[in-house]
Symmetry: C2
């Protein structure tokens, strides 16, 4: 199931990128390089799963799936810049500003972010304009200064400071949690059948798997290999980055990860037996090794 | 008339920024610093004028006016970055990355761009969802890799190269023209009364004043003072930048400016006597000294 959606968004992104060949060649290459980079496609998969959960057809969710990957991808390109995290490798390949240059990486991020909103607002035969508009609004709120960008700004301002557990939770909730939440909300909305109660249940699930994802990231940085990670193992510790293992220890981090896993599954109870794929997704987040 | 709209968008931006005080303080300050910077507010003014031209009330156009200024402002913040134009002054004040730092400037641009789409997609009592959706779509197309960002990418790739007149025109049409076009289109759409013919006439007008604006910019860089410009006079020549005076001479640039002025006014003929404010705006672009 997860593989099907992975392939689906790969092919959708690839097809839609090919349609934009008329633009500046360097910009097009950099957008392609940054988007088609072997990523996990977690956010598009969440879009499709939430859409399916509420009875939507995959084609209703294609634009949202692509839009979410565009926003995720833009955030990585900008995050990797020298003035930000100064990362030279991403999934084992040179980051955008290394492969191209810094100016191109800035513009590529800008283009991908803007494209996300173009994708969501395209005339649609299956979605009502009011639904599309709510998808635009949810994505903007979750990814901007009330969401993801706020988390990145806080992260930036907390360099070298010792964070409390609450601050670390809040930072990750904004920095990665909000986009995971947006993925599930947009997928649900794309079905045309989402109630407020559905969205609230998905918000709770999002909160749990978002935090679990981050804790697992921190654990992997300690326990995985550079090859599996596609980036240098142990880099968090080297940078003195605030992580869950650093704050509460590795054993407690693992206990908490499993508790969040359970709570994520509980959040899906309102959906009855239709919830299997989202449970599998929660399992995947815990079990992944990269 | 222009003053009224200038004050209106200042107050709208200021009020809406104040509502976002809960975010990261540094990010909020940088957003405020970049938006409330004494700019000309040309794009919001165009939004209001096009809205008024088609019988809309100003309050229908407030969100679009703010969104256009957010996109313009983000593009300046990113354009000024060391990896891009490396500008330290903007309207006589330190640019965002000088006043704060590079990472903050990157995030501030990202936040302003995202906020633009949040503003346009807010639930509205006066605009139909389908109209709001078209506004989102038009802004995304005009400001992304099919519009403004494409122009910036071309500009980047043409450094040190000799451009033809056609290339220079195309670059400016994308880099500044598309956002001016978006301003007029969104203002017209916000009225709820825009026909395809209206939008086409405004597109023609946009094309003329967009190019006129750029030619006047190039002329001012030669003929104005550093004080009036708020940035070093003569910087285009010093950087060996492709400009109209450099390509066709100062006298020909001025002749062309006046021809575009005439053509802009002709493009407004379908609107009959309602077109006075947009004529005044074209006059302002030609007469401005900063």
């Amino acid at each position: 199931m997860l593989d099907v959606y992975h392939q689906r968004v790969e092919s959708e992104l690839s097809r839609r990128l090919a349609e934009r060949k008329g633009i500046d060649a360097n910009l097009h290459q950099a957008m392609h390089y940054s988007l088609m980079n072997g990523g996990k496609r977690l956010r598009p998969t969440l879009v499709y799963l939430a859409n399916d959960l509420l009875g939507g057809q995959p084609e209703q969710a294609d634009s949202a799936a692509c839009a979410l990957e565009c926003v995720h991808s833009y955030s990585l390109v900008h995050d990797d810049l020298p003035a930000m995290d100064n990362d030279e490798l991403r999934r084992g390949k040179p980051t955008c500003h290394i492969q191209f240059n810094e100016a191109t990486a800035i513009l590529t991020g800008d283009a991908l972010l803007t494209w996300a909103f173009e994708l969501l607002s395209q005339p649609s035969e299956t979605l009502a304009p009011a639904t599309q508009l709510q998808m635009v609004h949810d994505l903007a709120r979750c990814s901007g200064d009330l969401g993801m960008v706020d988390g990145q700004a806080f992260d930036l301002g907390s360099e070298g400071k010792r964070l409390s557990l609450e601050q670390l939770n809040n930072m990750h909730a904004a920095k990665t949690g909000e986009l995971i939440r947006a993925s599930l909300r947009l997928g649900a909305l794309a079905s045309g059948n989402a109630t407020d109660a559905d969205l609230a249940a998905l918000d709770r699930y999002a909160q749990k798997i978002g935090l679990a994802f981050q804790i697992q990231d921190d654990i992997l940085d300690i326990e995985s290999t550079t090859e599996q990670l596609g980036k240098p193992q142990g880099s968090d510790e080297e940078r003195d980055k605030a992580t869950y293992p650093a704050l509460v220890g590795l054993a407690q981090s693992k206990r908490w990860l499993h508790q969040l896993h359970q709570e994520a599954i509980e959040a899906l109870e309102p959906f009855g037996s239709r919830n299997r794929s989202l449970i599998a997704l929660a399992d995947f987040i815990i079990a992944r090794n990269h």
